[in-house]
Symmetry: C2
């Protein structure tokens, strides 16, 4: 049985559109790497987007489908750079090793370290909380810079006892982080039913099922409560329709943490956030990614 790794080397500005292509392939999650230090195949300004196809999928048909989509995007001049596709077969017996190349324990902050299930990690202090994650199943494994930005922003923002909404939770990593940082209650939403299953699994792995409510639905459509803090680490296509939902879901002093925003789109996103009635009060930026924290205008 062979898995197939599909790895696209793309321009940093094309990441979102490429992630969408993989989404449509239902490849079950992508890994994004944008640091040449960790991936010798990319240069500065490039990003590697990888997906893994299980052996039960019709791999050659999916690769053909991927090529067709990329050709269409290129023909429509929607890409800044022609993506380079690298494929690699991974045998079942090497599978664990392959994942290990991708998944290593990552210290997100002084207090939160992601430890993929199956990897060994010795905490460096008693204050450190370990986030266990089932590797390779879903978005948001801590490898992506926006996850790191979101967790850093959470650490700078939370004081404990907050009600937190985590919109489009994916792996659930931000809900787990918020719980470990003292949230009284977390409501996590996720549309995709396959992702939901793994989210639930990750909540169980971290023994936080009592504190986290997992809701299937798009954005905040299925949530009627109010929050002290709303988190969203998603592509701008999902962040934009979320903006008009925020005000009715926030307590008066509530805050929003939004990331998944690439530098090239940051100014546009800032404009949309401000037009929606919010004031950005803290910006965290790493590599090509931006995380905004904002609250409602004082007069609202």
């Amino acid at each position: 049985m062979e898995w197939l790794q599909l790895k696209l080397i793309v321009d940093a500005g094309d990441v979102e559109i490429i992630a969408n292509v993989f989404d449509d392939l239902e490849s079950g999650g992508v890994q994004i790497s944008d640091d040449p230090q960790y991936d010798s195949e990319i240069k500065k300004g490039q990003v590697a987007v990888s997906a893994f196809l299980t052996a039960d999928r019709n791999q050659s048909e999916m690769v053909a489908q991927l090529h067709r989509r990329l050709s269409q995007l290129e023909a429509a001049s929607l890409l800044q750079q022609t993506p380079r596709l690298l494929t690699r077969e991974v045998s079942e017996s090497n599978w664990t090793t392959t994942w290990r190349d991708y998944y290593q324990p990552i210290q997100l902050t002084r207090f939160l370290t992601v430890v993929p299930k199956g990897t060994v990690y010795e905490p460096t202090s008693t204050a450190e909380r370990l986030i266990a994650l089932e590797p390779g199943k879903s978005f948001g494994t801590g490898m992506h810079p926006t996850t790191q930005l979101a967790v850093s922003m959470l650490e700078l923002t939370m004081h404990g006892q907050e009600t937190v909404f985590d919109v489009g939770t994916g792996s659930g990593i931000l809900s787990i982080a918020a719980t470990f940082l003292g949230a009284q209650k977390v409501v996590a939403t996720e549309l995709d039913s396959v992702a939901l299953e793994f989210t639930q699994h990750n909540f169980e792995l971290n023994q936080i099922t009592n504190q986290v409510e997992l809701v299937q639905g798009s954005l905040l459509d299925q949530v009627s409560q109010k929050a002290d803090l709303i988190l969203a680490n998603m592509l701008p296509e999902a962040l934009v329709p979320l903006l008009p939902q925020l005000a009715t879901h926030l307590f008066p002093d509530g805050q929003v943490i939004m990331t998944g925003i690439i530098q090239a789109q940051a100014a546009k996103m800032r404009g949309l956030i401000e037009s929606a009635g919010f004031t950005i009060d803290l910006v965290l930026q790493s590599s090509d990614w931006v995380c905004y924290r904002f609250k409602q205008h004082a007069e609202a």
Copy 2:
């Protein structure tokens, strides 16, 4: 006995030059406020810069001197906006109350709260460390946005056991924060001998004199060791000459946190940092202020 409060309402872009004017007056420290929410006399894009003159100074001569300097700057078209000067006499008996208007306990992060001596504060959790500061004596009392940015960046960066240099320490607040965040050793430098005395006093207030070495000198001129982390919260005029000193004072994986940079000068400062051989890896921005974290290029 009367103190005199001098408060200049200036354009945000003029803050540095105005702070320098107050510096030349030897007013013994300025307070900067740029949030209209806390100061009804400023509008968005404006900053209030306040200094207090003790009764033993020739107050009217100093006010005249201030007017002369401002006229010169205006005549040379060095200011974006004509500063508005507000003066207020403060009697000795109202002094404490006046300071209380300016100094309130401030939660810098979840773990660090500044408590000016003489104010009362009840910690909200056992994890919270209180930074005691003698109010009104020196720069960096936690009121300034750059202090908050620097402390936030420290919290995101430090893991404990670091050797930290705090260049131009002022009140010593960043050295105290670094110590509370687990630094093994802090070396704080300060040129001004009056400031030094208050820095030492604040280190004593916080009982950290054993962990912090206070060195009189400009920038890192008097420091020969190497650090894991170099902190500098200063005006760009001081940050720029510090840049060539950094590489020789950093361990190979060492990091630098630099703030005191106003948004309008951030791009220029970024260019200077990169030209000096560093890579910026995290940016924190609040209001009009920017904090950069950077390290040496991998090839260096």
